[in-house]
């Protein structure tokens, strides 16, 4: 493990990974409970279009991914509120549309290359020193906003109408949540990859929900699962020369399967106990 830390790119990847592991389930718990987890998938594909724009014009792809993702997130929310298009159809529209834009732009850029493949599947070597400062800076802002709106986000996730009646500005907070989701997705892409980022946002939360605990305890368990998956995933993928994003998601998935069966076993043993 210590020899691993001698490589500066591994240290950068680990630090970026730990930051993302903290913010991904924090935003994920609200998306999952509001049945809105597919937005992460849509925003990751929108970010892909942003990355393609970055490559084409020689701009840092994370910056273009953030801009594309944030602008689209606001457009998706406005379209959903207008009720002119069903919520999930709006997601599908943006997902396929942005993927099409990305593919066309990549064909201008002489097709796929290693750099682009790293963004698709995630790799610790993708994280540059400047990326790390950006990931850390934006993550601090995301974290502070999530803490600031924490209680309002819980109430809206539980019962939107009652939250509105109690005087909470539901529409504003919904927009903030979706913008924060866009930021988290765009920031996570270098490590986890476009194709797998929604898994890191969703799977640790689904794992934690199996334990049937309070909101606070569920969030803590999700954070622990996320941190474990990311740290173990980066270390294992380095030694076994595997895809970083894929390894992280497989570990998270293993945690979910374990929690699911533990929960099923506990539920069935309770049923046996109370049976007459």
């Amino acid at each position: 493990m210590i020899e691993l830390l001698q490589y500066s790119f591994v240290v950068r990847g680990l630090i970026a990974g730990i930051i993302i592991a903290i913010i991904a389930p924090f935003i994920g718990i609200f998306l999952v409970l509001r049945r809105y987890s597919l937005i992460a998938d849509t925003l990751s594909h929108v970010s892909f279009a942003g990355i393609a724009i970055g490559f084409l014009f020689g701009i840092n792809p994370i910056i273009t991914a953030i801009i594309a993702s944030v602008v689209s997130s606001i457009a998706i929310e406005r379209l959903r509120i207008s009720k002119k298009v069903y919520g999930e159809s709006a997601l599908s529209l943006f997902l396929s549309g942005s993927l099409a834009i990305a593919i066309v732009l990549i064909s201008f850029y002489h097709g796929f290359n290693t750099n682009l493949t790293n963004y698709l599947f995630g790799s610790i070597v993708t994280v540059q020193q400047s990326d790390l400062f950006m990931i850390a800076g934006v993550s601090v802002v995301v974290l502070l906003l999530l803490i600031g709106f924490y209680k309002e986000l819980i109430y809206i996730s539980f019962d939107e109408d009652s939250a509105l009646v109690s005087g909470i500005p539901v529409r504003l907070i919904n927009i903030i949540l979706i913008i924060l989701s866009a930021l988290v997705v765009a920031l996570s892409i270098p490590i986890i990859g476009i194709l797998l980022i929604s898994a890191l946002i969703v799977i640790p939360v689904l794992t934690a929900l199996q334990f049937r605990k309070s909101f606070q305890a569920t969030l803590i368990i999700a954070e622990a699962v996320s941190l474990l998956s990311v740290i173990a995933g980066i270390v294992i993928s380095f030694y076994l020369n595997l895809s970083t994003g894929g390894t992280i998601v497989l570990i998270a998935l293993a945690c979910f399967i374990l929690a699911f069966f533990l929960n099923s076993f506990q539920s069935s043993s309770k049923t046996v106990r109370v049976a007459p």
Binding site: F158, D159, A208
Partner: protein, 233 residues
């Protein structure tokens, strides 16, 4: 119909009309709720009960007419902590939501506390006191989804009570709740209305229950007919 009463108007709907597309759901309704009232709003399904409730809570905007809460136009109303709301249980929440009874009741303090301000010790004490009022303090650490329908409704009453509201709106709160729990629930509402002087606006399709419990009944079917339950005097 205009109700002649000298008590303070807490809610006033003036010539309110609302339609979904071309379908007129409620038309030119006048309704006044006074301090201390226990008003039942009855009517058939699709008659406009829930629409009227949503208009009174600011969840829907009427096409014509106006709504005043505590004398202030609803568009300028800020004192939402004076309003409590108990939604229809079946449609209001996900039973798998990871929240304890205490966490659910604490939500009732969030609006009053304001954005960016964490909950205080005082909020937590208020939540426990509200749970005591509805005799659910022994269930504080249980998950909300693990309780029976009647117990969940008591918790929602506690959440509505925690900000010390002056009026509570209840939308078909006994749907899916067994008869014994309903009886206890109605007894609790009587205590809130008579002992704690909380004004109640209760929406239900069960006219018999409203006739037994409420002091006044408004029956809505596009327009409003109004009756006073004299047996409560």
């Amino acid at each position: 119909m205009h109700n002649v009463n000298h008590k303070e108007n807490i809610i006033e709907c003036i010539d309110v009309s609302f339609s979904y597309g071309s379908e007129n759901v409620i038309q030119d309704i006048y309704l006044a709720v006074h301090r201390g009232d226990y008003l039942g709003i009855a009517g058939p399904n699709g008659g406009g009960k829930t629409t009227l409730l949503k208009i009174m809570l600011g969840l829907l905007t009427p096409q014509s007419g106006s709504v005043k809460l505590f004398g202030t136009d609803i568009r300028n109303f800020k004192d939402w902590h004076k309003i409590g709301y108990v939604p229809q249980k079946a449609t209001s929440f996900d039973v798998n939501f990871p929240a304890t009874v205490f966490e659910v009741v604490l939500m009732g303090t969030y609006g009053k506390r304001g954005i960016g301000r964490p909950t205080t010790k005082e909020d937590k004490t208020s939540a426990l006191e509200a749970l005591k009022k509805v005799e659910m303090d022994g269930f504080a650490n249980r998950l909300i989804g693990d309780l029976s329908g009647g117990q969940q409704q008591r918790v929602f009453i506690a959440r509505a009570l925690v900000s010390n509201p002056e009026v509570i709106f209840l939308d078909e709160p006994t749907t899916g709740v067994d008869e014994a729990a309903q009886k206890e629930f109605y007894a609790l509402l009587q205590t809130l209305n008579r002992t704690y002087d909380v004004t109640l606006v209760f929406i239900s399709h069960d006219h018999t229950a409203l006739a037994r419990e409420a002091t006044e009944i408004a029956t809505i079917h596009k327009t409003l007919t109004y009756e006073v339950n004299t047996h409560h005097d």
